[in-house]
Assembly symmetry: C2
Homo-oligomer: 377 residues x 2
């Protein structure tokens, strides 16, 4: 292998690739990035066996030369270290040349590195994903969906399926659900369907979190393909593959109550900052519990901690309906739920002190956030 | 105590004050910030008993009202938590009111916090520092001096005096020395003297590092006063007091050799980046050792590590004099030494493979960085 490649572009692609590499891998070769050079392109691969990222670099982009190939070939080089070297070199282009035993010479300016590489035949093959049926979403929409649900996945391995987001392909919509059994985040893509034989897929939260770092807010297409065990996201010159979680996702549809007892509408950002202030004291007091009181057409947030003090926030509500209520909840869950709603006004519906309550945009049913209250007496 | 204060200005002053507060204090009241309000000003005090910071806030600055005093008084409030509250409140002004038992009510907008405060009489008195004789330096110069020396103090408590920077008041200059016994940083203020009875002061590195975060690059004066055990820096509305280290600082003047065997001049920034690249491999190989070779009028940096590979950097030297030499050193020390020199060109003088070498600006003797080589054979 002997090539010359535009350094800045190479760094960006390598950085994407690194997102799949974990320092805690059990297979040493997976610490590396695989570089495959054919006659007309280079393919970079990084993987931690849960996530794999494959990036194709062409010789030219918009008539600008990116990659000059003198001799095809392939090698695996230690990921993070190799990328650090490319970053710190000087000059517009960097040259790579592999000699015997996968020794790789990296030169740019007055610098010459000689690294021990590995045989790319030792690198595991990526899983095959059938790309017959595709679901297509824009990068911005997919990124938003991930941000609106992924924070609510469980961090505990007690029930592994809860560490993922459940993508449900319904007859007339697609829904995305995450829950750690204390709160739940639901996003619906109304008027969008995916005709596949698979009725749902549970995608690991960790994979979605890495994917969302790569996605931009653009309207560029992301093509999504599913097989029994894997999901493939194709985005620009990148293929992002994640394994799926096995097992049955709990039926969460029964969790959503009907007929609220109390309903309050507030400005999202104002309410968020009020919760943020009250939670300061709640946190200092050693828990995150704050209390919300709806009484005499007033809404108030309070928290108290015997050693530290008390706090009181009056909340501006644009509408209050139904019964008075006093209810306690975890302020962190409330703040994450509010952040996941982009709308200016949100509506909170309560169904009694001990039953889960919901937070939704006042004008849409695309997002539903559900939180279990905390018993404080 | 009952006051109203401009929130943004208050936050800035509190942030300065926090720099003196350590979460690991043994005296619980030192977790707090002392607030003293007299008829016409407020004084904030933070301390960890090593460093104390005292800030005076007047009622007006440039005819703009900063502080409105309704009732003088004083209280101690938990530092970090109190500052977090002030930061998260809304509105331009925040009101503080102390009632019985040092309960303090903080109000702004629709928020009301009630915090348990402490009696300010329990707060330790700050040490007195005689301010008869002052050394005056500009903020920018003092900040530079700290940055050029403080990185070289010892982090080990084995020889406590080495954890400080030695300020030496000589007959015709002032010198600042730091060493961890592997390398030494010396800065001289030529043509500047300080006529005091004290011939030197060892200021803890930690204090200088906090002070340097507060100092700006302006030419505003910093007044420095010394007593036997304390140093006081007066800067704007702030008094920064640090204890001094006790003990005798070693005589470092004998360390500087004369009559170099080899002398090399290089561009500071180019050389720094070359060292940075070579050190990548040195670090990956598990140590920080790199080798410099001066031979046949060429300068080369190399490093190798059997498992990882080798690296080779040709260095552009603007002048090479004297004997050929091969010498090994810690790349981290070299990079820190180069960063401490602001000049574009630096000169490195070698006195043999096993003796310390020096790095200085090519055109000045204000800064001398000295590094002990590493024996590699």
């Amino acid at each position: 292998m002997k090539i010359s490649i535009k350094r800045q572009y190479f760094i960006e692609q390598l950085n994407h690739c690194l997102k799949a590499i974990s320092p805690r891998t059990t297979l040493p070769i997976l610490n590396g990035i695989k570089i495959d050079v054919s006659d007309d392109q280079m393919i970079l691969t990084g993987s931690d066996s849960e996530i794999s990222i494959e990036i194709t670099i062409p010789a030219e982009i918009d008539n600008e030369e990116i990659l000059e190939i003198e001799e095809p070939g392939s090698v695996v080089l230690t990921g993070r270290f190799f990328v650090d070297i490319i970053k710190k070199l000087s000059g517009d282009f960097v040259d790579l040349e592999t000699t015997e035993n996968f020794q790789t010479k990296i030169t740019a300016g007055k610098s010459e590195f000689n690294l021990s590489g590995n045989d790319s035949n030792q690198y595991p093959l990526l899983p095959e994903v059938n790309d017959a049926d595709s679901l297509v979403l824009s990068s911005a929409v997919l990124k938003t969906i991930i941000n609106q649900t992924n924070f609510a996945v469980s961090l505990s391995e007690t029930r592994p399926v809860l560490t993922g987001v459940n993508w449900n392909f319904n007859k007339d919509n697609i829904s995305f659900t995450a829950t750690d059994s204390h709160r739940l985040a639901l996003r619906r893509l109304l008027d969008k369907t995916f005709n596949t034989e698979i009725s749902n897929a549970i995608i690991p939260g960790k994979s979605l979190s890495e994917l969302s770092k790569i996605l931009t807010d653009s309207d560029e297409d992301v093509e999504i393909n599913l097989s029994q065990n894997q999901v493939l996201f194709t985005y620009g010159n990148m293929r992002f593959i994640s394994r799926l979680l096995e097992g049955n996702y709990p039926d969460t549809s029964r969790l959503f109550p009907e007929n609220y007892e109390t309903k309050v509408s507030v400005n999202n950002s104002e309410f968020y900052h009020a919760i943020d202030r009250v939670s300061l004291l709640a946190r200092e007091g050693g828990n995150n519990v704050i209390r919300m009181t709806v009484e005499n057409n007033n809404v108030e947030l309070t928290s108290n901690s015997p050693e530290v003090g008390t706090v009181n926030e009056a909340v501006n509500a644009s509408a209050i309906e139904g019964e008075d209520i006093k209810i306690s909840f975890n302020s962190k869950y409330m703040m994450e739920a509010l952040r996941a709603i982009q709308d200016e006004e949100v509506t909170i519906e309560f169904f009694g002190t001990m039953r889960p309550f919901t937070i939704t945009p006042s004008e849409s049913s695309e997002v539903v956030q559900l939180i279990l209250p905390i018993r404080t007496y």
